[in-house]
């Protein structure tokens, strides 16, 4: 009895410790972003001083812009590319299918640093000027496999005759795609899109290697700024954390709400 009590207690304690380990640094960062002094150890009072400094710092603001715009563009382009690839993949011959799904996993499993150096060498070899465009291209390239991975299972789950049925009823191939296929695989597309966005938004390693000419995203500028104590970073990090948190929340909660709603409609009908 006692043994079991202790066992369950220690289990709870273990989980608690884990969470503390993960989240304490984040909370410390968030709390000290509101500190009125420069100290990173003593909380001297609440202020939004670092947030105003953040907004006034044009270097940081341009990094925010780079991060947001690269993430948005890379997400949009890789979602379209990845979705089309996944649909095409499902129509290919079996051997091609197997090979491509395996090849698609390589960039996901590959250490980021390898991808980063690879892309850097590629851009140098092609004499691309390093900057915004190279960063965008790199982000598209590492986001697309994630989109394919989340869309492909949905496409494979479709009835083989679904596109035929649409065309049989008078839809052109393009209409079959937009009016039937895409709506049916939408959950996969949304998941891939959010995954791509978060991947792109918080990327450091690849961006660091492929960017140049002063073009920096948030991670890069944070890295540059940590060389001196600067609580503005805390303010920036807090914003990033909140953005990521909201994104994760959206990914996980929206499908559940939708399911519940769908089920309710069904129940009403039965």
């Amino acid at each position: 009895m006692l043994v079991r009590r202790i066992a369950s207690l220690s289990k709870g304690l273990y989980v608690l410790l884990c969470f503390a380990f993960f989240y304490t640094p984040i909370f410390v960062t968030m709390i000290f972003s509101f500190n009125s002094s420069k100290s990173l150890t003593k909380f001297t009072g609440f202020s939004l001083r670092w947030y105003t400094q953040l907004i006034e710092n044009s270097e940081i603001m341009s990094a925010v812009w780079v991060s947001v715009s690269v993430a948005a563009l890379a997400t949009a382009i890789s979602t379209v590319l990845g979705t089309i690839t996944a649909i095409g993949l499902s129509k290919s011959r079996k051997i091609i299918k197997e090979w491509l799904t395996n090849i698609n996993n390589i960039p996901i499993m590959n250490p980021e640093i390898v991808t980063a150096i690879g892309l850097m060498l590629l851009f140098s070899a092609m004499k691309f000027e390093k900057g915004y465009l190279t960063m965008l291209l790199a982000h598209i390239s590492f986001c697309t496999p994630y989109v394919i991975t989340s869309v492909y299972p949905k496409v494979r789950g479709l009835d083989v005759n679904i596109a035929n049925a649409a065309m049989d009823l008078g839809a052109t191939p393009f209409q079959a795609l937009t009016k039937v296929i895409v709506p049916m695989i939408k959950p996969g597309i949304t998941a891939g899109m959010l995954l791509a966005f978060t991947m792109s938004f918080d990327d450091f390693v690849i961006s660091y290697f492929v960017s140049g000419n002063g073009v920096m995203n948030i991670s890069m500028i944070v890295y540059n700024m940590t060389k001196r104590t600067n609580p503005t970073i805390n303010a920036l990090s807090t914003i990033v954390i909140v953005v990521i948190f909201v994104a994760v929340l959206v990914v996980n909660v929206i499908p559940k709400l939708k399911n519940k709603k769908g089920r309710k409609i069904n129940e009403k009908n039965i």
């Binding site: 035929n164 049925a165 649409a166 049989d168």
Partner: protein
Amino acid sequence: MNTLIELKNITKTFDDQQVLKGINLKINENEFLTLLGPSGCGKTTTLRIIAGFDEADSGELLFDGIEISKLPPYKREVNTVFQKYALFPHLNVAENIAFGLNIKKTDKTVVVQKVEKMLELVGLSGFEKRDVTSLSGGQQQRVAIARALINEPKVLLLDEPLGALDARLRKEMQTELKKIQKEVGITFIYVTHDQEEALSMSDTVVVMNDGYIQQIGTPTDVYNEPENRFVASFIGESNIIKGTMIRDCLVSFDGFEFECVDKGFKENEEIEVVLRPEDIDIVKPENAKIKGTVESVVFKGVHYEIMVRTELRSYMIHTTDFFEVGLDVGLTFGPEDIHVMWKMV
């Protein structure tokens, strides 16, 4: 009757395997035509070529006398009901049925009216807002039929539409489909491997095997006058016996000569004879040429299935009378019960 669709020498090969080996078929207006054959004989492939999902390797496909092989599916005046329905799960019943009309940008009020009429036709009034995934198999099938018919096609293609339903629902839907076909008055091309279904619903049955058409005819024709051994054994049960056509209306098998009604064979041509189990009568041995012993008796509900062992073979007989195992009996049949067929090479 006008020919609506004509297939001329259609062939199709998938990965070195010739699936259709020269299909010639004329399909009339308002006809209920069934493609019947065992699994893998090319029924679905034939249907997909007519619908435009596959293209034949060679041959012609005429619709109202016009070659349509190169026409994409969305420009053909045919609609399809798929085996697994292929409904759109993100749309409700009404939206599924209205899909074709909405693609053609039909006026909203017209769409609503037509959807209602279609739901009435297939017996699903009041189901407009239902989620298609919440429907039973039979109901989904009806939605699939309504979704196709609302486009007022000249031809409806149905690929084993009742394959996924249980026996009782199948029977019900068979009658219903036949009724719907009469009501809308268009051509139905129906695919099945169930011979009973084919015989009870069709105007014309096309028996296929291994990429060839074996016989085209009315249900009574293919049942009573099978052209070869395959058709005879695939449709219903039968006794198939090798024999010789001595001359017109005289055939010899099992060591005896029998009068028959078949003509047009060469003298002394090797042929095969079909005797349907229900056409053979069991009589006293002294009243018959063929004599044997009752080998087994199985009760089948309405009739007994009796096997009679003769000198050369066992005959299967269906009769409502009971005979004891071991009894010596004779077998008789009339001239019109003997069906003579070409021998298969």
